[in-house]
Symmetry: C2
């Protein structure tokens, strides 16, 4: 089969090389960044680097749009315009309401793999990036059931677990489990760096983990934050309220309340990660 990948960064490049290795697909890639395209060719992520979306789409049965969130809608529209009637189209953007509303074509279903690292770029792409990862799909009433089924089957063969979800539910979830942690890491790293000036060598493993995703590439993340701004703002407001409650407990030296807040967190952690984690 032929697969087109539009945008060969960490995610697109990993889709490409996984499609080559696991589906035996012939993969065409295109990227506005010629250096990224060269890396993708040199690393064998794609079979062919193309100059245009139309060229990459020739004969493709499936197209993955893996460009920054701010460019997803325009790119999906260009891909749908160039793609055959039988080609399924999906994207990998971190927010799903806007693209689901804008791109109402029977061949299209939005998607979002919960995979990645703090690294970006084709240089870090790898075929096993999606192994065991949840990959959300957000079919709408306009998505043909057969398109959804084909995309779900493809990503399952890339190693991921497809999971259908409403676009609104998706965006509410990622506001809390992905976007908020990035904001907290940013806030924490700035304070830690300020506190640590002239006090070297103190970065233990827990601080390192806590700030690992801080300062993620602005070219990607400013758009993500803005597209999900309303739901992320709600998550931040809840966070501020919880922090205020804890600060009050400290001010009152209320050991019982502090313990109960900590035990609630321990219970939530068990819910989230399982008791063995």
């Amino acid at each position: 089969m032929r697969v087109a990948v539009i945008g060969v960064g960490l995610i697109g490049g990993s889709v490409a090389v996984a499609a080559r290795e696991r589906l035996g697909a012939l993969v065409s890639g295109v990227d506005l960044d010629m250096a990224a395209l060269e890396v993708a060719v040199a690393r064998g992520l794609i079979d062919r680097g193309c100059g245009t979306v139309r060229e990459a789409l020739q004969g493709a049965e499936a197209a993955f749009v893996a460009v920054p969130v701010g460019a997803v809608i325009a790119t999906v529209e260009a891909v749908l315009d160039a793609a055959d009637a039988e080609c399924v189209v999906t994207d990998v953007g971190s927010t799903k309401r806007a693209v689901a509303a804008a791109c109402d074509d029977p061949r299209f279903v939005g998607g979002h793999p919960l995979a990645g690292t703090e690294r970006s770029g084709a240089g870090y792409a790898r075929a096993d990036l999606f192994e065991g990862a949840t990959w959300y799909l957000t079919p709408t009433r306009r998505t043909a059931p057969r398109s959804y089924e084909r995309v779900a089957a493809l990503i399952a063969r890339l190693g991921a677990q497809p999971e259908a979800i409403q676009p609104e539910d998706h965006d509410r979830l990622v506001a809390t489990i992905s976007h908020l942690p990035h904001v907290l890491a940013n806030v924490l790293v700035s304070q830690a760096a300020a506190a640590a000036r002239h006090l070297p060598g103190f970065v233990g493993p827990s601080l390192r983990d806590a700030v690992r995703v801080a300062g993620a590439p602005s070219a990607i993340w400013t758009d993500i934050y803005l597209e999900n701004g309303d739901l992320l703002a709600l998550a931040i407001e809840r966070t501020i309220a919880h922090l205020g409650e804890f600060r009050q407990a400290l001010a009152a030296s209320d050991a019982a309340l502090i313990t109960s807040l900590n035990e609630a967190a321990a219970a939530a952690r068990r819910d989230l990660l399982g008791t063995a984690s």
Copy 2:
């Protein structure tokens, strides 16, 4: 040499086994929890399990107090009372102002190794826990220079890097780099668990890292939070202010401000972890 370890949990047990393996010391241990003492003997962390502090201190040239923060002062006092005139005494508690003020004996110097895991207990103790870790020491005007030098030399031989710091500076630093990250992990995990109910399988590596220290044992952490309550409350207030600024930027859809906050976090991350991290 003979070393006494009072409290054979994760940290005390690791001090004990590192002292045995790296200093060739004969290590006596004592713990209020008989089960922990049995584990320490069974795992070979200590040479001898004792029933009392006085028994553990017999002939000891150095004593490490590794009990929960709330019990540190009373335990250090009991140890100083039982220890020989030539025995140096230190503790490993996460806050340093209170113990530095209370325990003014020439043989005593407070300490705090920046090491540990989210696991606690003698079962997880290991000889290499302090390898490369910063180990803060907080000598006061009452600490004999020779006591400081002996403790610093001992912990260097355990693999750590001793670093002298004022108790106040220490507590201000750990409020931001250790206690605040625990509070943020607690606040995040509760929200994530609530958001995730009925939406299984979404816990990616970045969320897992972000909540790793959530719900740390209350028996240890309630005391830590309370002892450092004033400085931790200040760190929380700064965090709330930063979150409020970001929320405002989202509400105003201010892409330039969001990008500049994110770039400041990226720069802080480079400051903190180095460019390669």
